[in-house]
Symmetry: C2
Subunit: 343 residues, 2 copies
Amino acid sequence: MAGSVESRLYTQSPLLRFRGGGKLIKEIKASELDSKKYIAEKVEEIKKAVGGGLAINALSGGVDSSVVTMLGHKALGDRLKTVFVDHGLMREGEPQRVVDIFKKFGVNVELVDARQQFFSALKGIEDPEQKREAITRTFYRDVFGKLVRDKGAKFLMHGTILTDVDETVAGIKRQHNILTQIGIDTNKEFGYHVLEPLIQLRKDGVRKVGKALGLPEEVYNRMPFLGPALAGRIIGEVTPERVAVVRAATVIVEEELAKTGAFQYMAILHKDKVTGMRDNRRDFGQQIEIRCWDSVDARTAAPTNLPFAALKRIAERTTKEVPGIVSVTYNITPKPPSTMEAV
Amino acid sequence: MAGSVESRLYTQSPLLRFRGGGKLIKEIKASELDSKKYIAEKVEEIKKAVGGGLAINALSGGVDSSVVTMLGHKALGDRLKTVFVDHGLMREGEPQRVVDIFKKFGVNVELVDARQQFFSALKGIEDPEQKREAITRTFYRDVFGKLVRDKGAKFLMHGTILTDVDETVAGIKRQHNILTQIGIDTNKEFGYHVLEPLIQLRKDGVRKVGKALGLPEEVYNRMPFLGPALAGRIIGEVTPERVAVVRAATVIVEEELAKTGAFQYMAILHKDKVTGMRDNRRDFGQQIEIRCWDSVDARTAAPTNLPFAALKRIAERTTKEVPGIVSVTYNITPKPPSTMEAV
């Protein structure tokens, strides 16, 4: 993609960073960021790059893809096709909530129901790496890749940020080449372009731009919710029934911890069964593990020192309101050696 | 066993309770208990019952079996054969520590190494009920039952307390008939006698008698440690390797929480694997769950509000010192709906 918009977007200034393929990226720190100017520049760049063509992007509801959607919409209007892929692994009510938020900005988000495809791909898989691989493959190749081809869009907008590039280079995350991921062979099929308008920013810069774009705080300050979504919070097989259990527990945890200001908090469904008791009889059920993290950038994190009353209340509500749960734990391990998500 | 010592021991007074087989038991509350008098009476009763014969008992190191051992030793001297069955599921150094404590009182405890038998019986078993059944059967029938027959003892001393009787009647615990459990058919083999000198007491009464007998505080105030021992704290198969992991975690938890005064605290090894990271690389390992209970009588219990620094320190030590552990949780659920042990 030498000469593509992508390289033009990163090679305009002196403080440079290498990107795969020899491209260079200049970091813009949040403290130095002029959001209004940044937005105006990116909108111009996207307009110039796409010309009269069509662009497409996948919106997840996270801050990165939300900001990309707004920049693309400002530049292209209806020539940006934004899709929200419902893989069945989102939190309670999330797909419709995201669609509704963007409707207020005049952005028509197409909600694609791909639940069946994801659950078929996840059937019988227990290994975390295989689980993530099944989700990534189904998302990019089977669902989003098909949408790109069907809509005839040659421009893809993607919310890659500088931290993603660093982590790929450091070998922490695998190389994310969006075109390869959606099944487009860049050697054979010339003419696809990837636009990554957030690549010079870190998460704090993206949040600043999101705020300047007028996005609601629930979007620009949204808690990290990674690609595998609730599947990353299920130990063992991911089935619609088990997603429903962890989703119900997630509602409780998010309600109870919303005011903590913690970086991220979550419920994790275990596969192990533990002995409990109900009405003076044995009850053999499952555990929900709660994690709540203090962190600046997710590279390291510490469990939050939550009020014990809040923990007790979560345990009480979870064992009462979520069927099959007899026991609740709170994770007390820092990252490292823990990771933030369980899977 | 009508007419046995057992019935004579429980039917002397007006405040009576039925026992299986129509026997009656008078409760003695700890507050009303005259320990010195109780000890003298029980020693006399045991002497009369056993006459010139041999008695046997299994010592686990818990307060009940320790008090029975001391009463029996006072009454019978060397004619009480006390065995400590090492099933391989005890805490670090426990078998030898118990033998050493009783040596100081002139009680010669025979240490029986039955580890191989228990691990064979537990091989491949994951279901908690089957696990408990395998341990009970191996303990009473295969190991202790054989010892009783080999030594020719016709009197068995057993540390049953009134709470055990209540729980059997209420259907919470299964019926504990010691003779049936050790494989003696009471219809066929007439002449066996069971002595249960603690049957009128609750745990607090037994502790009071233990103190009056001069037992060290680590014995008379010992934290409850149930029959299945560390096997009750392993989710999934019980193998020597997995017992070693939970034993190492137990050392840390007991060291760190010794001064809390909590009713009971423990480490539980999970079977579920979770993702962790070491030296910037993924590490797929297991979790240790910590439980620490506030309770008066174990019938209900609440998780202890431990200082967060103590929890963090346990997590730090456990992930550093115990191989294969990448994550540590703290249980925040009361009993009910949780139980105190996990299995």
